[in-house]
Symmetry: C2
Amino acid sequence: MERSRIDELLRVYRAGLLEDVVPFWTRHGVDREHGGFLTCLDRDGTVLDTDKGVWVQARATWLFATLYLAVERREEWLELARGGIQFMRAHCFDTDGRMFFQVTRDGRPLRKRRYVFTEAFGAIAFAAWARASGDGRAAEEARALFRLVLRCAREPERLEPKGVPGTRPTKSLGMPMILLATAQVLRATIDEPLADECIERCIEEIRRDFMRADVRAVMETVGPNGERIDHFDGRLLNPGHALEAAWFMLEEARHRGGDAALVETATTILDWTWERGWDAEHGGILYFCDVHGLPVQEYWHDMKFWWPQTEAIQATLMAHLATGEERYERWHTLAHDWAYAHFPDPEHGEWFGYLHRDGRLSVPLKGNLWKGPFHLPRMQLYCWKILERAQAGAPHGDTLEV
Amino acid sequence: MERSRIDELLRVYRAGLLEDVVPFWTRHGVDREHGGFLTCLDRDGTVLDTDKGVWVQARATWLFATLYLAVERREEWLELARGGIQFMRAHCFDTDGRMFFQVTRDGRPLRKRRYVFTEAFGAIAFAAWARASGDGRAAEEARALFRLVLRCAREPERLEPKGVPGTRPTKSLGMPMILLATAQVLRATIDEPLADECIERCIEEIRRDFMRADVRAVMETVGPNGERIDHFDGRLLNPGHALEAAWFMLEEARHRGGDAALVETATTILDWTWERGWDAEHGGILYFCDVHGLPVQEYWHDMKFWWPQTEAIQATLMAHLATGEERYERWHTLAHDWAYAHFPDPEHGEWFGYLHRDGRLSVPLKGNLWKGPFHLPRMQLYCWKILERAQAGAPHGDTLEV
């Protein structure tokens, strides 16, 4: 990548983060009355729904603590992270140590889900906060959540079963993919001793059970030992998830000072995913596709959500910087240009979240229980910092200094 | 409606039912090996997934038994209904009397849901079969399922709670709407003694708790006493459900020999729903909309599914025949023409199920766990028979003679 291109992209990501996306959420998404974050926002930032998703409470908390650590010691960001931690401590934990999924504005529980993804996002929030604030109790809370997720990942029978037990056990890419990223954050922030082993196990599980060279695909749902499941769910591919897995591995290779085998695995995932997930007709990354090209049952399969695009931008950029391969720079340009042509809202800032396949808007909202300040600012922060390191000739090491 | 138009439409619905839709499912959708129905079918009838949805097992069974009763005593249809009943008896009941939601091809349970809609569809299947076959045990099974649904409708705490209990209890239009139609089938087929009272209570509940004159809308989700819920879910309108409620009431008014107040309620629902659900820009009935016109959280809100269109065709036709109002004939023509221009597959028969807002195809499949031989052939059968009665100058009485 040419020096001038690096400089140009760096400016786009940094300015987008600090002058557009973060201000949008601090202006509209902070609950100054009850604490925590209001993320169900209309196009102009008007609150559409006061309910609070705990995923986004945790992810926003992680973001503000991480901005404080990796960008600058801005008191406002520390206070926003503190507000998220206080709201979660007061309202988002059930008596069994698990977290709720959705609570009312004032923190009364509405839903709890069988999955432990909320707890994984909670773990990164408490860990980043612990590092930013020096709050030792938060580090213990992060470790407890991480251990809870680890136990459920290794002994899924601890969780309420998804279906009738026994008939067709399955596991999803989401678990090792999210656990891998969670462990990376806990290692960087609170020096979690179980992180390295967890990361290695997640990588091995993805390689062994989810990657299928015969069909050049990363599966989303398989049997407990990677068995193929020839049903709608088992044939489903989720390119956004695969792209996240790819860049988490590229980040891990950087952490290890350059791990050629891991870069090879990550770029293989990226190659396979690009072949299937990139929409050659309209541009952008598709939400779902079928491994055999058969019809998909999920209704929104061909929509363009914001987050697979941000993951594609980041994965292709990191792959290019790790390998020097020209095609990753080309793919990065395609992903970046399509996303930036269709998602940003020039009038009110931030990105729309949900477009039709051809890029037309499906809904104008800026946030809901799932879309909050996470995928987009995370991409902007990582891409800015990784380009900064590229400028400095530092291809290895954790992207963020926390 | 002019006599020639009645004749023309009658031919379209009858021929569509008997020469297109029913043959598609008997040719491709019958599991000759394990019994029951395979409904996850690609465009040409190829099986995409062998899993069996119990909703569609029950609804297909109801359809074939009802065709036997209301069209002609065709042995093939009776045997298809028998196959559905045998498969459900053998494989679709849990030990607590509730039914599963999804089973494998050979009948091993995969999923059970907290809702009792499966049991309501089971009730109409066993009731229609009992009438068609004279199987007294089936009548008792139908009554037991109906009573189970009634108990859960009246004491929702019997069901596993949807969210954390107590914080924000809700109820949905689906329950009284489906219960109303279920009771109508059980009254007609097995002379269910609780049916009339149940029907009256469902109508009253919809009038009292779901219809809101101030905003001219039938709500989909309200509090236990009809309280407004100003959150995404509480603002959501489901025009297809409201259209079903409208024609179930029009059918009830016919059964009662013409009940002007009930016709008024039903046409009010239709008027309100048309104002909001008909897509003036592209045509067709939208899947979801927000009562205040705000963004909707469900991703497929602006898609055109097949079933709200069939319900619109039937509701507008019945409203026109009940009232003579010109606008219902006009709306019927709009709904009929848009659906028939976009959904039928001229090459392989039947209808596609899932279109984008502008009528472009989203997926080519003909069936899945939800789409099977039900909404489309039910509409064709009812519209044929109601037009036949209109030809005969018989505006009242149950549409189907079973």
